[in-house]
């Protein structure tokens, strides 16, 4: 089943187009929060686990919409060879008031970092997981 709320793709994304798509003709959106992850300093190759990645992001999006009572949300994550300055990931959330949208983006990023099966390679070395990322994910379970 294809979830149009998420996308795992090689190609770049257009932030403005994604924002407009989420907004559509709705006039009940008061807040739109976003996060863009960008390749820093050195080229990356991103590998992922096709199938599991899509399922994980789809479940994460639906859970976040439910938990934070969002109007809508979108997650896009790229894979393949990326250069410094390239966009990697986009997370968007819309809600009536601002706090849920901002928190939901934070939540989705934290969970995506430790649960969505992506692996980064810089040159010949695979990037190590940051302990801060693991701890950040755990924080949400205590709320």
């Amino acid at each position: 089943m294809v979830d149009l709320g998420i996308s795992v793709q090689r190609q770049d994304f257009d932030v403005l187009k994604e924002i407009k798509k989420l907004q559509g003709n709705r006039i009940d959106i008061g807040s739109l929060s976003s996060f863009i992850g960008i390749v820093r300093d050195v080229p990356l190759i991103i590998e992922h686990y096709p199938g599991m990645t899509e399922n994980t992001l789809s479940n994460l999006r639906k859970y976040a919409i439910d938990r934070f009572k969002l109007l809508d949300a979108r997650i896009i994550h790229r894979y393949g060879a990326l250069e410094p300055g390239d966009q990697i990931v986009l997370v968007l959330a819309t809600s009536n008031h601002r706090k849920p949208a901002i928190e939901a983006v934070d939540f989705m990023m934290d969970n995506l970092k430790t649960k969505a099966p992506f692996w980064k390679k810089e040159g010949e070395s695979w990037v190590s997981q940051r302990i801060q990322d693991l701890n950040a994910t755990k924080m949400w379970d205590q709320d």
Binding site: I46, G51, N55, A116, F118, W126, Q129
Partner: protein, 85 residues
């Protein structure tokens, strides 16, 4: 009784074993036991033994603990800690 499982590997588990995907017949009860069998007996997997504690796994595309049962499992994946985003 042995069941047939599809095994997938990613990132350095893949590059170090050179086996992105294969099928295996196993009677291992847990995914941890399956990994131990692979490390002990399968060619190219021995070199991963020193990094066993760093390896993570998924059963049928869901993150799993190493004591998880393989009952009814069809697909098992081994990989390093996730580093997306």
């Amino acid at each position: 009784m042995k069941t047939s499982l599809k095994i997938l590997t990613f990132a350095w588990v893949r590059t170090q074993t050179g086996e992105p995907e294969f099928t295996i017949d196993t009677d291992a009860a847990s995914v941890g036991k399956l990994l131990d069998d692979l490390l002990a007996h399968r060619e190219n997997w021995a070199s991963l033994s020193s990094r066993r504690s760093e390896i993570r796994c998924a059963i049928d595309q869901c993150l799993a603990e190493f004591d998880s049962s393989l009952k009814n499992a069809k697909e098992v994946a081994f990989f390093p800690p996730i580093t997306g985003g």
